[in-house]
Symmetry: C2
Subunit: 204 residues, 2 copies
């Protein structure tokens, strides 16, 4: 049965390949596109192609960037003695929003996951170690590596794995704190978070 | 603060324009695109442009199609004496899935909504009336128009409005039934649906 015209069916298929988009949602998006002015759709298509043409991995920290090295790695005002390791480029954005961290980053593009068959060789990890040498870091010695992978089983495993590799190199390795989210309520917090919040308690 | 490289920020913006896609989701989709092979993204962009180039409204029923008149309007095997009026092209697909309706369609591309300032002139309704004349319908007289707009306030208003216009023309006008969805449970049905199910009861 011919339900949709070929080009419409093809567009629905393309939308369905995006993460979290099912059949119904893909249909809705395709029909939205069909109703948009042609110029708007052309701009959308162009911006899809443009990221593939212009965006590369930063050769230093693996950030996605249109200039290499990226904005952070080439900035003269950042503290080069600290490197914060995150899983994904948008994790970097979350940290930048605090406006309190002024060091450099290293982006792994993933986390260890035996279940999904993601091993150390699948992470962008190898280029972290040369960065610790002053001659590869504009003469600055790295004092501390902050492991800011997600507070999940996968993120924890990744943090411990990297810590194990870094500690013999004589660099200070820290892990971001886990505990109660600010503004939350004791009543609704899960037991693992509560456990962490108790274990990481500090004097006031 | 420069958070994302320009092309990435632009793509996030484009995804955000899609219905139901917020900032976080748009970010996630943009990063998904960044990781896809270039050929895949090119195929996606092409299919976006293609629908705008190839898909037109059927001049008879307003269906979205790549051939005019559309598959349904030009089919020799469909019952030309019945026209089913629906709000959206994907409503047609829902009806076709039943495999029980073999007539023609008319697609309004919307429903009346005073709140959203959608009036009769915003619906693709004007070209429904000429279709009732046999000379405009391959010599076949239309016996029945089925109003299959949604069972919502807007769909109901639209059905009543169209019924008011059609009845003086001497054509039989019917409305799809409302009642309990098959496979559902009395316990969970809302009161308005239950009311309809009682009112539309029939002898067995």
């Amino acid at each position: 049965m011919l339900e949709y015209a070929e080009p419409v069916a093809r567009l629905i298929d393309e939308f369905k390949k995006l993460p979290g988009i099912g059949q119904k949602n893909a249909q809705r998006l395709a029909f939205f596109i069909l109703r948009r002015p042609k110029a708007d759709v052309e701009r959308f298509a162009k911006s899809l192609l443009e990221v593939k043409e212009k965006i590369v991995f930063c050769s230093v920290c693996n950030n996605l960037t249109d200039v290499d090295p990226c904005f952070y790695c080439s900035s003269p005002s950042r503290d080069r003695s600290m490197i914060c390791v995150v899983e994904e480029p948008y994790n970097l954005v979350a940290i930048e929003k605090t406006r309190s961290y002024k060091g450099l980053y290293h982006i792994l593009h993933g986390a260890l996951s035996p279940l999904r068959r993601i091993g150390p060789e699948d992470l962008k990890l190898a280029n972290l170690f040369p960065r610790l040498k002053p001659e590869n870091n504009k003469g600055v010695k790295v004092r501390e590596v902050i492991l800011a992978t997600n507070p999940t089983a996968e993120g924890e495993a990744t943090a411990h794995y990297i810590a194990g590799l870094l500690k013999p190199l004589g660099v200070k390795v820290t892990r971001i704190a886990m505990g109660m989210p600010v503004g939350s309520d004791l009543e609704f917090v899960d037991e693992v978070t509560m456990d962490k919040a108790l274990a990481n308690r500090h004097e006031i």
